[in-house]
């Protein structure tokens, strides 16, 4: 691994830890956004700067951004400041 990839991998691990540490939905989402930025950068610097690397990074970045936007919409539809288990437990009872 080259140095930029290692830095990006650290960002991925930080984002992953933040997403697991978060109790509320919005907190987890922030961790996931950090992780997403890290993974896309990791892919972008993984190979030599040529159209193949850029094309792949663009495709992966756009689809990941789409997933995160959808996650944001879902978080807005429910109360994103509440722990995410509560509603499911309520429904089960």
């Amino acid at each position: 691994m080259n140095a930029p990839m290692i830095v990006a991998a650290v960002v991925v691990v930080v984002g992953l830890s933040a997403s697991f540490a978060g109790v509320a939905i919005r907190g987890r989402l922030r961790g996931l956004v950090t992780m997403g930025v890290g993974t896309v950068v990791m892919l972008g610097v993984a190979g030599p700067t040529r159209p193949a690397t850029l094309g792949m990074t663009l495709m992966a970045g756009i689809t990941l951004a789409g997933m995160l936007v959808f996650a944001r919409i879902l978080a807005r539809l429910i109360d994103g400041d509440e722990p995410d288990r509560r509603g499911i437990d309520e429904a089960r009872r």
């Binding site: 990006a8 193949a52 495709m59 992966a60 429904a91």
Partner: protein
């Protein structure tokens, strides 16, 4: 038109057909008529039939390069694994489409206008994933499947379904990003993401195992394999009745197909004995954990969702047995995946009919169901035959091949989990069947309080068989379950298909 261009056209149609359905459903403002659904599913079924006959007839995988631009490559590879998965998806999707249109006829305004466009898009993404010839396309389709699946779960807009969809999507996001990090490592080491080219390059690189390990971790979360399965039961249990079957039967196989393609078709040299045994052990944990929770579950669809967690464990036993050089494990694992999809979809469709009829979502809804919904109960019985692994069923053939592979490779320690897991499966499915055949006395005395607010059945209504007319949805569930029996009686054609392009087929086993 030459034979090759006809096959290429069919291959494109297999992917584009469901996409056409999505476009037509959008044009129809989301309320896809049964005629439109029938037309599109008929078109896709024809294309899949021609594809499977072509590949089976030639005995070699069919490859088609659609796009070869920088970073935007798209190659479709129709080998035995891909075609078996596409056939499985198509059979389940057609049954679910029939189920959903039948629901639409009974309650025309109940269907969310985004259901059909998203549902067809999910179908298309599944086909493209199974046929993908490179890891990036497979990754993009895994993302599309995750978004479409979460969107379908969230459609009814109730708080608990939104929460279940959110947890599902968050797990998918973590898994996707982990897979993407692994793809970055592979790209860094090999400069290629085509499955056919990964093996030698990745095996030669000292960090190859790290890249493979990171991608595998992401795929296990997507699968999901215990103990990272916690998002699955809520998402599958709270999804609408026409969505749970496709999630529990087919969507869970998407990560499985990518995993075994990557491990055994792309980079077999990297798979170590310790790694394979670890995955097999996680499979055993899933078999026991999923079965025990299913046995204790009081919620009908949750019981079936935990059954899925357990059944995915059986699929993982393919990994250590393949690593030991058994072609029987490949045949057994892939065939079991197909049989499980058909039986699980049938089980969920039948359970939905019975729960809706009883107006309650718990297992007590099944009490006395044989008098009200005999076709649905029969479907549960036939599906149970395959899930438990009793002859004549596809589940039996799949488990038999796994047992034979365990003995031939000397890995006898996988026999007890297969046998105990099958007994536990029988335990929770017999719990349902026992209730279904319960006497009228028990049906009359069943509790009426519902775990879901506003839903409950009056005792009189529970005791008296309702005149429901012809149970079209129960019949569809039964037809789907009977396909597993057909596979059990005549497994040769499917096994020959699975062998096309499979690893170890000429030398192992």
């Amino acid at each position: 038109m030459s034979e090759l261009s006809l096959a290429a056209g069919v291959l494109v149609l297999v992917v584009a057909g469901p996409l056409l359905g999505a476009v037509l459903a959008v044009a129809d403002h989301g309320h896809a008529s049964s005629r439109l659904v029938g037309l599109v599913t008929g078109l896709i079924a024809s294309a899949v039939t021609v594809l499977s006959v072509t590949v089976a007839g030639s005995g070699t995988p069919l490859t088609l390069v659609l796009l070869a631009g920088p970073g935007l490559e798209l190659t479709l590879v129709a080998d035995g694994l891909a075609v078996a998965m596409v056939v499985m998806t198509t059979i389940v999707a057609i049954a679910v489409a029939g189920f959903a249109t039948s629901e639409d006829r009974e309650s025309p305004q109940a269907r969310h206008p985004r259901f059909w466009p998203v549902w067809f898009a999910l179908w298309s993404a599944l086909h493209l994933l199974f046929l993908a010839g490179d890891l990036l396309t497979a990754y993009l389709m895994l993302e599309a499947i995750g978004v479409a699946g979460a969107a379908l779960v969230s459609l009814d807009g109730r708080r608990h379904t939104l929460l279940a969809a959110t947890r599902y999507l968050y797990a998918e996001l973590v898994a996707s990003m982990t897979v993407l990090a692994g793809i970055a490592l592979i790209w860094h080491q090999t400069g290629s993401l085509r499955f056919a080219e990964l093996g030698p390059e990745l095996s030669a690189h000292p960090e190859g195992w790290l890249a493979l390990g990171v991608v595998t971790a992401g795929l296990l979360l997507k699968l999901p394999l215990a103990p990272v399965h916690l998002w699955l039961p809520a998402a599958h249990a709270w999804a609408p009745s026409a969505v749970s079957p496709i999630l529990s039967a087919v969507v869970v196989k998407s990560a499985f197909a990518v995993l075994i393609r990557l491990w055994f078709l792309a980079s077999p040299g990297l798979v170590t004995r310790h790694g394979a045994q670890l995955l097999g052990s996680l499979g055993v944990v899933a078999i026991v954990w999923g079965s025990v929770v299913a046995l204790r579950s009081a919620h009908l669809k949750q019981l079936i969702a935990y059954s899925t967690v357990s059944q995915l464990g059986f699929l993982m036993l393919l990994v250590p047995l393949m690593q030991a050089g058994s072609a029987d494990a490949w045949r057994g694992g892939v065939l079991y995946a197909v049989a499980h999809a058909l039986a699980k979809a049938a089980l969920l469709m039948a359970a939905a009919v019975i729960a809706e009829d009883a107006e309650r979502p718990d297992v007590e809804a099944v009490i006395g169901a044989v008098t009200r919904r005999p076709l649905a109960v029969f479907a549960i019985g036939v599906a149970a035959l395959s899930l438990v692994g009793l002859p004549p069923s596809g589940g039996f053939v799949g488990k038999w091949y796994l047992l034979v592979a365990s003995l031939r490779t000397g890995q006898w320690w996988w026999l007890p989990p297969i046998l105990v897991g099958s007994l536990l499966t029988a335990g929770y499915l017999l719990k349902l069947l026992k209730r279904a055949f319960a006497t009228d006395d028990l049906a009359t005395s069943r509790p009426t309080a519902s775990p879901v607010a506003g839903v409950g059945a009056a005792p009189e209504a529970a005791a008296e068989p309702a005149d429901v007319g012809f149970d079209a949805r129960g019949a569809l569930a039964l037809a789907l379950a009977l396909v597993t029996v057909v596979i059990g009686v005549r497994p040769a054609a499917l096994l020959e298909l699975i062998d096309i392009g499979a690893p170890l087929v000429t030398g192992g086993g």
